[in-house]
Symmetry: D2
Subunit: 278 residues, 4 copies
Amino acid sequence: MDRKYILKIDCPDKKGLIYNISNIIYKHGLNIEKNDEYVDDENAKFFFRAILSGDLNNLQLEKDLRAVLPTDANIILKAKERKKIIILATKESHCLGDLLLKYYSGELNTSVVAVVSNYDYLEELVKKFDIPFHCVPCDNFTRSEHEQKILEVLKGYKFDYMVLAKYMRILSSDFVREYEEKIINIHHSFLPAFIGANPYKQAFVRGVKIIGATAHFVNDNLDEGPIIAQDVIRVDHEFSWRDMQKAGRNVEKVVLSNALDLVLEDRVFVYNNKTVIF
Amino acid sequence: MDRKYILKIDCPDKKGLIYNISNIIYKHGLNIEKNDEYVDDENAKFFFRAILSGDLNNLQLEKDLRAVLPTDANIILKAKERKKIIILATKESHCLGDLLLKYYSGELNTSVVAVVSNYDYLEELVKKFDIPFHCVPCDNFTRSEHEQKILEVLKGYKFDYMVLAKYMRILSSDFVREYEEKIINIHHSFLPAFIGANPYKQAFVRGVKIIGATAHFVNDNLDEGPIIAQDVIRVDHEFSWRDMQKAGRNVEKVVLSNALDLVLEDRVFVYNNKTVIF
Amino acid sequence: MDRKYILKIDCPDKKGLIYNISNIIYKHGLNIEKNDEYVDDENAKFFFRAILSGDLNNLQLEKDLRAVLPTDANIILKAKERKKIIILATKESHCLGDLLLKYYSGELNTSVVAVVSNYDYLEELVKKFDIPFHCVPCDNFTRSEHEQKILEVLKGYKFDYMVLAKYMRILSSDFVREYEEKIINIHHSFLPAFIGANPYKQAFVRGVKIIGATAHFVNDNLDEGPIIAQDVIRVDHEFSWRDMQKAGRNVEKVVLSNALDLVLEDRVFVYNNKTVIF
Amino acid sequence: MDRKYILKIDCPDKKGLIYNISNIIYKHGLNIEKNDEYVDDENAKFFFRAILSGDLNNLQLEKDLRAVLPTDANIILKAKERKKIIILATKESHCLGDLLLKYYSGELNTSVVAVVSNYDYLEELVKKFDIPFHCVPCDNFTRSEHEQKILEVLKGYKFDYMVLAKYMRILSSDFVREYEEKIINIHHSFLPAFIGANPYKQAFVRGVKIIGATAHFVNDNLDEGPIIAQDVIRVDHEFSWRDMQKAGRNVEKVVLSNALDLVLEDRVFVYNNKTVIF
């Protein structure tokens, strides 16, 4: 069976891009198994993603593509392979547990290389699944000191994405820049509503009839990174904020898991602090 | 057939309220056709709503109820009757048209006494349904002057609620206070996200994956009144803000219509800038 | 400004289709404004849709495409133009009224050439919008006789699609075959649940917690045509079947309107009694 | 702090029930913390549920209630206590795992006394959570023989409810009758659509745009027991039935968990093969 490859391109739009790209793919004797394309008219920006199969010469294909694409095109071309993630968590187990279970049952299209936490609450759970657990306490350390210790742990692993599965510490700009578009967070509100601390309490006080969760890439601005996935559920006046929190956990874990699937399948482009998802 | 009555009570909670209330209803020979009750534990606040049938002596029943309820109890007791609404709109026809159609087909549990607008765009549509239309232009007038003219028109009608069916003018505090808990607005966002002007553009720029609409009572603070109903739909990167606006119109009109049904059936209590809905 | 064209192709899948199609489009000097493609792997079936702009020579483009496509390819190539619909209805006004309002406000991407009904209930409403109304009574006629009379009316109009906006008569196979993939129906259940008469009563008796509506192309088998769009809402034990019917109307009209938008924009392919929608 | 009690009553409706019930509760010096009531008008059937607090004399309270209620009233009166469940599963881990995780984290309002399966696939997972696991193979046994062996295992435990967390065997009428209204099943379709085997394949073939899951009490008729909870998600033509199955797992586990919460809090009445849920 032929190997499969992911090709992702984004660049300024111009006439004939599809023709030129498909022409080169065709000349390389590759098959396009799936292909999505989108043009952001307002910004004249072109997005393209294909799953290719066949016998691929990476260097030559990329070189030939560059020859017909605008000079500032971004090209990602790689074998469709199982990726690796590292998970950061704090005390709550629902998102972490859901990922561990899916990993255990073979449903998660990735390997979990380790779990890092600022507390030891989740150690027992993680060890049940035979995954390395690192407790990096934050108490009595500055943010910067704590992040240094986290970074040291991270450096011991190879991973493609970092998943914040209810990691309740704000990451510094310096930390985030090290892993641009590589950190996925689950926020327990329907962003941009209820930015900041305890969104369920905020939602309760405001009296909304729907609450939600948002998975997004982490960037410099807290809770303002590009949104990957969102979902909501209905609540009513009988919900205390604790009830909202409980009901919300089911949404949080599903939204995070869905967003992770999209990212792991290389279906997500980031552009203008938004996502294009095929 | 017996006449039907709505009884709504809210007061500080204390032991025996249900017993005392139902005892008095029973002694008056009335039947409780439906009864809902909710206690906000945090604030020790009691809410009660019943539909009664039988031969009712309003004054005596209310007097007997007051005798067993805390002194600051709010009691609403009235025949279950068709109410009247007046609609304010500006240029967009979807919410107004939906209400007119439902009124025409007998589905709307209310009479529409008139439509008032700051433009004449909607006059032709309103006249198709034989409803008085008042154009009260806002151009070249101060907010206060314009509102005075609106108030003059309103004074010519008897109505229970004022429905802002995409009325795109901010109402002054003075105006709003005249009609406390009597003005229902539809806001074209999933509040509290995207408060203020052009929420669809804001949603587009933020790159959310879900948009919505919110029906709320209007109070002093723009877009911050008690929420009655909300609903959402999914969008993706292919939606321009115009596409969001188009898709959102279907949500807006359904949310407004549903909220209006709840209000017209006296199912909504307002408390702490939130709603309790039975 | 360049004119816009829709190109739809479906054919057996083979290597190089995207390249060959885009090559020809490129050679014709046309721009691909949007392009979607899907391959049904199981059946090795290829679907392609593009919006083209430029100066188009229909005959030559289609000829050139046929030369590179499998012999049994379906090609639709036409100017992106406003289409025409004819509406059939019976007594209920909500779906019809929603379409008329959208037509009136310019939101509906089509012209409504006429409304045909087996009763005269809706005549007054239709006439408000200055659209021809034809009452073709069904009482005292066989199905075949009645359909003959309907057909006579239909023959007086040019239209692209027939919309059954709660037309409560079953159409014969003969009738349906005259308008294959041209008749869009709204069914008041979440198909395939509750096929047949009075789905709201069926839903009530079964005690479901969610009800819905389904828009589909009409084929020989009642309620079994290719599904275009579906949506649902939550209900609970307090809903009588009349309450479900009332709540369901909002879903019905929105689902029908959304399905119609998809069809009118030529975004729908029918295949194996299912739809592929770009 | 006072102990809390659940009182559930259902009986033929008659005038004064609320008064009579609340009178007796009041005379017993109990407080009504929450109280819901519903009358099914069509069948003149009354449903009542209250959470009581205070110093309760069970026998006397029930006796006093019986004295004022119709003779065939069902009364359930019991301390609000943590319940026990036993879980049956087969090979799939998502529903089971979700319950185990929630049990582990203290979120599940119940104890899991054991897991029983017709295969040993899930043994490793269950043992991670230190819960007894019983493998009762079905191969080479008749349904009746197999159920006898299951029953023997069940008899070794005390439990309030049996949860079929993707238990893929049909239970006989005899078995079901032993545990009337005590067995909760999760069905992987939006019932009553796609009754029977492999609903995802059925949904795929039918081309629906929405799939779902249904939690219900198990009765004699497969997939036809009283529905407790349902939820749905959107799918499109790109979903293979395997994709639907994967996406559906998230819905299944959340619906089952939500239904279980409702049952464990004694919020569910069964009547006419439907549920009344407060």
